[in-house]
Each structure stands twice: as structure tokens, then as C-alpha cells.
């Protein structure tokens, strides 16, 4: 449905995120797109037409969570603030629904949350047991996990990601529970983002994704009281992009050969290319999913044009350009 001209087909946008082959660098940021909800609101076969190169679902936890009191979301200057609070049905109900989107054509990186190493590992163990016993065609193509140790809107989430020791404990417990690709999603709400990154990699993570949202606050303009039911929330969108780029560059410089998923306010193909130039292997699109159903197709077409216009034969040639001396 993009209004743009068809992209130049000769530009190779494929990337390898660790062991996961991606047709192009774009994935969705966890919690911003639900394939089943879109499938219900689409005339075609959304599971076949899924525009991202991999699907990162909304974070799942061991037990059901009802999330934070409303209001939970509002717009800010060049941004969006949210405090959903990891609302989800819990891993067992979540597993029971897997058959409904088993036909999704993209590899899946499951976002996992919790309050303790045991809770994170319990989610992974439950899913691994199900995947091992599931007949072919009854489950989606789960290739790995993204450990969400960085949600600013739940008790425990941010604290784990801000504490390298606690981060290592969670990653270590999850590493013991799966042989699949393991990403750890870092919080930007720290003095040095590479510290938790080093802890995660040291404990067995295969790659890192960053950044999660910035802990922030917005006031009701009439009452001057906190607007969100949770009082504080996480800020995303274009407002955070320059900080996210700096942090991705710091992590890429510190861990040069590590698979990285960069994110933070990607609205255009050029934004995505900037994250790749800062060292990202793949790029997650978050708030832009709220702006239109067609945002991923548009951003992908723009990325292809940006790569071709610069004379790169592959998108990988752009990786790390911003890190050069």
C-alpha cells in the first residue's frame, strides 16, 4: 500500500542476526504490533504478508499480568509515553494461542519478562517443552528470545536491567534453559549502557537489543498531577532517537562482533540506516507502528532507496560507518 515507487530489487538488504537469517534488517519492537489483531483487520492473509523480517511479540511472563491502571498512553512532543505494565495472559495461555499464528512466515524472537531469574527461565522452559512436543505446523518458527530486563513500568523490570549482577543472573538462568538465540534488551536508564551489556554477554547472551524506553513523566495540564495511572512511563518515538543512536554506537564499539538490534524512534528508512551506521545489525520499529498499518512497508522501501542511493551493494556495507575514527 506504499505510495512510493517500487524499490530497486537488486539491492541486497538481507542480514544475519547471529544464526537468524533476516530478509531485511527491520523487525517490530516488542509490544507495538500484534499479528493476530492485524490479521483480524486485514483483507488478505496477514500471516503470509507480514512485512517485518522477524516478529517480536509483546512480552510474555510466567504468570498473567493485568498491567497498570489507565490512562496508559499519550503523545508528547515528538514522542509517545506509555505505562502498559506488561499486561499479558501468562505463558501457559500464551502457548495455547500459538496455533492461531503458526503460519506466520517470519522467524519469531519471543520477548520474555519477569521479576526473578526463575520467572524468566520458567517462561522459556515452558515454551521449549511445548515446542519440543508440538507437531509440525502447529507452532510458529521460534528462533530465539529477547529478554526484556528493561521495562520501566513494572516493579523489578528496570531494576534488573540497571544492575549488571542481576542482569547476569537472569541471562544465566535463561541460557541454561535454551540453546536458541538469546538477545538481552538493555535499558537506557543507566550511567553506562555497556556495563549491563557486558554482564549479559558474559552470562551467555548471544546479542543485545537497545534501547528500551526512557523513564519519563507527563502531567495533566489541568490538574498538574501525573497523567498516567502509573505516574511514570516509558518515553519512545523520535524524541529519543539521538540518545538511542549514541547508545547503540557505544555498545557496538564495546562489543564489535556482537549481533545488535538497534531501536529508538525509527520513523523513516534513513532513521533505520542511521542505526545500522551506528553498528546495529537489525533495526526495530516501535512507535511508527502506531502511525499507520503501512509504516513498515514504507520504511523498508525508504531504506532500500537510501542504501541504493549511496551506492552500497548490501546494507551490511553501511554497518558501523559512524564508528570510524
Amino acid at each position: 500500500m506504499s505510495d512510493r515507487r517500487p524499490p530497486a530489487p537488486e539491492t541486497d538488504l538481507s542480514v544475519r542476526l547471529g544464526p537468524v537469517e533476516l530478509a531485511h534488517p527491520l523487525v517490530d519492537a516488542s509490544g507495538t504490533l500484534d499479528v493476530l489483531e492485524y490479521a483480524r483487520r486485514y483483507d488478505g492473509d496477514y500471516l503470509a504478508d507480514f512485512p517485518y523480517a522477524a516478529y517480536v511479540p509483546k512480552t510474555v511472563t510466567a504468570d498473567p499480568r493485568t498491567g497498570n491502571p489507565p490512562p496508559r498512553v499519550t503523545e508528547t512532543p515528538s514522542g509517545v509515553i506509555n505505562a502498559i505494565g506488561l499486561e499479558n495472559p501468562g505463558v501457559h495461555a500464551w502457548i495455547a494461542q500459538l496455533g492461531e499464528w503458526a503460519a506466520l512466515r517470519a522467524p519469531v524472537l519471543v520477548s520474555v519478562g519477569g521479576n526473578s531469574p526463575e520467572q524468566y527461565a520458567a517462561v522459556i522452559s515452558a515454551l521449549e517443552a511445548h515446542l519440543a512436543a508440538a507437531p509440525p505446523g502447529t507452532v510458529p518458527d521460534v528462533r530465539g528470545y529477547e529478554l526484556n530486563v528493561s521495562c520501566p513500568n513494572v516493579v523489578g523490570g528496570l531494576q534488573i536491567g540497571a544492575d549488571p549482577t542481576a542482569t547476569a543472573e537472569v541471562v544465566g538462568a535463561c541460557r541454561a534453559a535454551t540453546a536458541r538465540f538469546l538477545l538481552t534488551k538493555l535499558t537506557p536508564n543507566v550511567r553506562d549502557v555497556t556495563e549491563a551489556g557486558a554482564a549479559a554477554l558474559g552470562a551467555g547472551a548471544d546479542g543485545l537489543s537497545l534501547v528500551n524506553t526512557f523513564k519519563a513523566m507527563v502531567l495533566d495540564r489541568d490538574t498538574l498531577r501525573p497523567f498516567l495511572g502509573n505516574r511514570t512511563g516509558g518515553l519512545c518515538g523520535p524524541a529519543i532517537k539521538p540518545i538511542a543512536l549514541r547508545m547503540v554506537a557505544e555498545v557496538a564499539r564495546a562489543f564489535p562482533d556482537t549481533p545488535l538490534v538497534g531501536m529508538g524512534g525509527v520513523m523513516t528508512g534513513l532513521d533505520a540506516l542511521e542505526f545500522i551506521a551506528c553498528g546495529a545489525t537489525a533495526v526495530a520499529v516501535g512507535a511508527a507502528n502506531f502511525t499507520s498499518f503501512e509504516a513498515p512497508q514504507r520504511i523498508l522501501a525508504e531504506l532500500r532507496d537510501e542504501v541504493a542511493a549511496r551506492g552500497f551493494g548490501t546494507v551490511g556495507e553501511a554497518r558501523g560507518i559512524a564508528l570510524r575514527a
Binding site: L33, R41, P69, P71, R72, P77, N82, P238, N289, T291
Partner: protein, 262 residues
């Protein structure tokens, strides 16, 4: 929709974006009635459903959820109130402008089998009631509407409505009866079995809910909420209900009046 067996099962939702030309724009004080050429949306829509509208120009990120004021043939109409920066920009749209619109989205008002309907609206919450009145009247139902507004300025929106049996109240007494919709309801002779449809500010919903229970009636309510995606993904628009936290964009915006907790 899953879990909402009491509302329309047959309504359709559609997330793709339509580029819609403004074919008519009527400005009523701080309100605007915008008619958009949107054949694919109009053909799928049902009363109570909403659309997500992209605010034109730089500096707006999230789309605005706006309920359908009418849908007929190839056109939809929206009644927009200038409340914040984004909605104020929408009220300034002119004929010939093109806006991006996604929808229809959300649940619809159940209308099947309804012979007597009482429509109760407050402020911009009146918006979905015109479309509902049109459909109910076309199906042969007896439709009465009671609309309440804050003051003379807000009551300018009344000019957009063409419901035959319509009474109006303003809190400052400048238009219609002085008071709230509750004063209008008290003056009505309501037939037993009348279905109540309500949309408006939270205190009004609570009052209408109490009145409806007291009268031994049933009904439906359309709620509003701050939304990010409008399509069920982000869980940003939940409200507390007797069925737990439900999304206004997906299980709603139309709920049973007896299941919401305003």
C-alpha cells in the same frame, strides 16, 4: 470480537489506510463536521465504530480516534471537537484536503430487534448517536435523543444533528432546558423495554447507568480513551469493566451499560 458476545458479531474492522478527500466541511464554533470520500470505509462501517485519523502536518505522531458521525454510500462524516492541538488541527480541514484514515475499527452498537431506542449524549460524546439514529430509524425503530452540552458555545454542535425527536439541555441554560441530560430523561415518558444508548463524559455515563438500572432498562455505552495503535496491539486504551480490563479499541468502544465501571 472475542468475549463480547453481546455486541455486534458481524461488524468488520479494517486496519489499512485510506487517503480520503474532504468533500464538505461545516464549522460550528469549536466543532467541525467533516465529510470524507471513503467508499471502502463507508461500505464496511456500523454505528458505534470509529476511525483513526492522521493529523496532517509536522509534529503529530499518534492518530486520533474519532467515532463515525455518519456513513452513507461512498462517504463518511466525522464530528470533531477542537480539544487538543491535534483535534484543533482537524477542525481546520477544508474541502479538497486529503487525510489518512484507518477503519472502521472497534465494536458497533447492537441494533437488532430494537423497537424503542433512547439515545443519550453529552458533549462530543453525541457524535456516534447521529449514525446510530439513522440506522435505527431506517430499521423502523422509534428513536428519541437527549443531548447535553456545557454551554452555548458547545451547543453549537446541535446544528449538526438531524434526529427527529431531539431534546437538548445546557448547563448554563443558554440552549434548550437548563441542566443536564438527566433532567431531560426525567421529563421523558419512556416505554418499557426501551434500549438505552449512551456516550459522553464519565460522570454522565455513571448517572445514565444509575438511571437506566432504576428504570429497569438495558443499554449500551460507547467509551473513549487515549489510544496509541487503535488496532488492539498496544493495550494502551484499557478500561476497567466487569469482565476485567478491556481495550476500548478492540472489545469496545461499545460495551454493555451494566458492565462498565465509570
Amino acid at each position: 470480537m472475542s468475549g463480547s458476545g453481546q455486541t455486534h458479531d458481524d461488524h468488520r474492522q479494517w486496519a489499512e489506510t485510506s487517503h480520503c478527500r474532504v468533500s464538505a466541511a461545516r464549522h460550528l464554533g469549536g466543532f467541525a463536521v467533516l465529510e470524507l470520500i471513503a467508499p471502502r470505509i463507508a461500505r464496511r462501517a456500523a454505528p458505534g465504530q470509529f476511525v483513526m485519523v492522521t493529523v496532517p502536518g509536522e509534529g503529530y505522531l499518534l492518530r486520533r480516534p474519532i467515532s463515525l458521525f455518519s456513513a452513507e454510500a461512498d462517504c463518511i462524516a466525522l464530528l470533531v471537537e477542537a480539544r487538543g492541538r491535534g483535534s484543533e488541527r482537524l477542525t481546520r480541514l477544508e474541502v479538497g484536503d486529503v487525510v489518512d484514515v484507518a477503519g472502521p475499527l472497534g465494536s458497533a452498537f447492537p441494533t437488532q430487534g430494537v423497537t424503542n431506542a433512547l439515545l443519550v449524549g453529552g458533549g462530543i460524546g453525541c457524535a456516534p448517536l447521529q449514525y446510530l439514529a439513522d440506522e435505527l430509524a431506517a430499521a423502523g425503530a422509534h428513536v428519541t435523543a437527549a443531548l447535553g452540552f456545557r454551554d452555548f458555545r458547545a451547543a453549537r454542535a446541535v446544528g449538526a444533528f438531524t434526529i427527529e425527536r431531539l431534546s437538548v439541555a445546557t448547563e448554563d441554560g443558554s440552549v434548550g432546558r437548563a441542566g443536564t441530560v438527566l433532567h431531560l430523561l426525567a421529563a421523558l415518558d419512556v416505554a418499557p423495554g426501551t434500549t438505552v444508548y449512551a456516550c459522553g463524559p464519565t460522570p454522565m455515563i455513571a448517572a445514565v447507568q444509575r438511571w437506566t438500572f432504576h428504570e429497569g432498562l438495558r443499554g449500551y455505552v460507547s467509551l473513549e480513551a487515549h489510544m496509541a495503535c487503535g488496532t488492539g496491539s498496544c493495550h494502551g486504551c484499557v478500561v476497567d469493566t466487569a469482565r476485567g480490563k478491556l481495550r476500548v479499541c478492540s472489545e469496545g468502544p461499545v460495551f454493555r451499560l451494566d458492565e462498565v465501571t465509570p
